[in-house]
Amino acid sequence: MTMERSRDWVMRAAILVPYLWLLALFLLPFLIVLKISFSQTVIAQPPYTPLLDLSAGWEGLKNFFAALSLENYATLFSDSLYAWSYLKSLQVAAISTAILLLIAYPVAYALARAPRRWQGLLVLLVVLPFWTSFLIRVYAWVNILQHDGLLNKALVALRIVDAPVTWLATDTAVYIGIVYSYFPFMVLPLFAALEKLDNTLLEAAADLGSPPWRTFFQVTVPLSLPGIAAGSLLCFIPIVGEFVIPDLLGSSSTAMIGQTLWTEFFGNRDWPVASALAVVLLCILVPPILIYRQREARRFEATR
């Protein structure tokens, strides 16, 4: 009896401690963002009308609701700068996810087909750069892509171009940086799916006279769809809100939403508009996040 009770008590603590931590530091902050996105900008410290004042009782509650305004959302929809920013982010995320899929698939396929003896080492080699700093990896490309950098030197030496090309502060540079940084995130889920592929299915297709390319598109690709979905979501969602890569490699004229939010917050010190931007961005990302979450839950149930 006491045994059972102490067991319950320990388990309850194990659940409660991280639960409370996440409620206080993950969920509550979102509610605050939501509230501030409905507040008016004031020139003060902090620069928005105050939060709910419960000490004022019913009167405070009434004031709280009276002070809510849609002004920031109206700003968001009236200025096309913001709409373009969202569209730009979605476009960059969609195109880079497609490029990632195209170049990561052959690598993941080769990894899955590699001799067992080498597989562990090769997977480690793909994961290794993920452990070095994100910032360092983006900075490495600033080195290469700058005006008199190695890429231009190589291109001029090989007579591919006559004069150095401008790479930095272009969309191309942003795509290169994103594809480079997210490469392991795409390879690993694809590898996990392709590794489980049943070889006998490929043999059966070959025995029945299917040419290799047809087997690939009719057997391999459909069977790796879970990996394709997982990798694409894992890349697409964070790329939409990416800040560091477009900031260091892109130009400020075509800002992604992460940069716009950053500028509103740090540059213009307009916290309510920055919050509204975050709320809308979150609404855009909720469907893909829910799909990702559901797939993870299903995968988890399957492995149990």
């Binding site: 045994m3 102490s6 320990v10 388990m11 194990a14 659940i15 401690v17 991280p18 639960y19 931590w21 996440l22 530091l25 993950f26 902050p29 605050i32 963002v33 501030i36 939060l51 170049i103 690598v107 396929y109 080769a110 990894l111 087909r113 590699a114 001799p115 080498w118 480690l124 080699l125 793909v126 290794l128 750069p129 452990w131 070095t132 700093s133 994100f134 910032l135 360092i136 900075y139 490495a140 600033v142 080195n143 290469i144 700058q146 190695l150 480079y180 490469f183 969602i237 964070p238 809100g241 800040f243 260091l248 939010l261 919050s275 975050a278 961005l281 990302l285 979450r293 988890f300 149990r304």
Partner: protein, 265 residues
Amino acid sequence: MKRFSTINLAALALGLAFLYLPIAILVIYSFNDSRLVTVWGGASLRWYRALFNDSAMLEAASVSLRVAFLSASAATVLGTLAALALTQRFRGKLMFSGMIYAPLVMPEVITGLSLLLLFVALEFQRGFWTIVVTHTTLTLCFVAVVVQSRLITFDRSLQEAAMDLGCPPLRTFLVITLPLIWPAVASGWMLAFALSLDDLVLASFVTGPGATTLPLRIYSEVRLGVKPEINAVCTIMIAVVAVGLIAASLLTKRSAAGAQLGGRV
């Protein structure tokens, strides 16, 4: 016996070249004697010497290491508890697992902004400790996922046997469960440490006066263009990570070999 086919070998070679060439170039140029970052002026350790006289950079490195150590340790405890919770049934589990998985893909600008607004609302002094708390919150989710994947594959009958024989739950955890899942806990800690050391966006939001982490410092320099000194800092960071990972893989290999041996006996 499977062997590499030419096309697969080519795909792997190209993929790995794409991953490693930029880093290799950065490392090589950190030993460049020339002040011009694009002209090779012979090998030298000049920028490393300059680095060790740069007190702001050293201070930033020390802040980063302390933040990473504290937040990774807290995240490992909380994340392991969260992983244990995820294997149980309880009310509100759906929301709990949602809060574990969402931060993994949530854009950092949103997480950073929301935590900053929380600290402002609570009138919390921003600086070192707000960065620690922020990093703990993000990385505990990563630890939870890593440890959970270990918990669902390990043999739970050992744990149940210990409990049935009257071992108290806390002791069961420390004597049976923890030794079995410890490789996952250790790699969770390392992952948390690396993520904390790496973070720029969250730290930018929640930092205050006097708490500049290494990425914040590097970022403010990089925005002004490429500097040879930054190449040197990056090379040292890469070297530290590489040594840590090799040590970790040797350790886990040994413990895996030990576990196999134990299994046979």
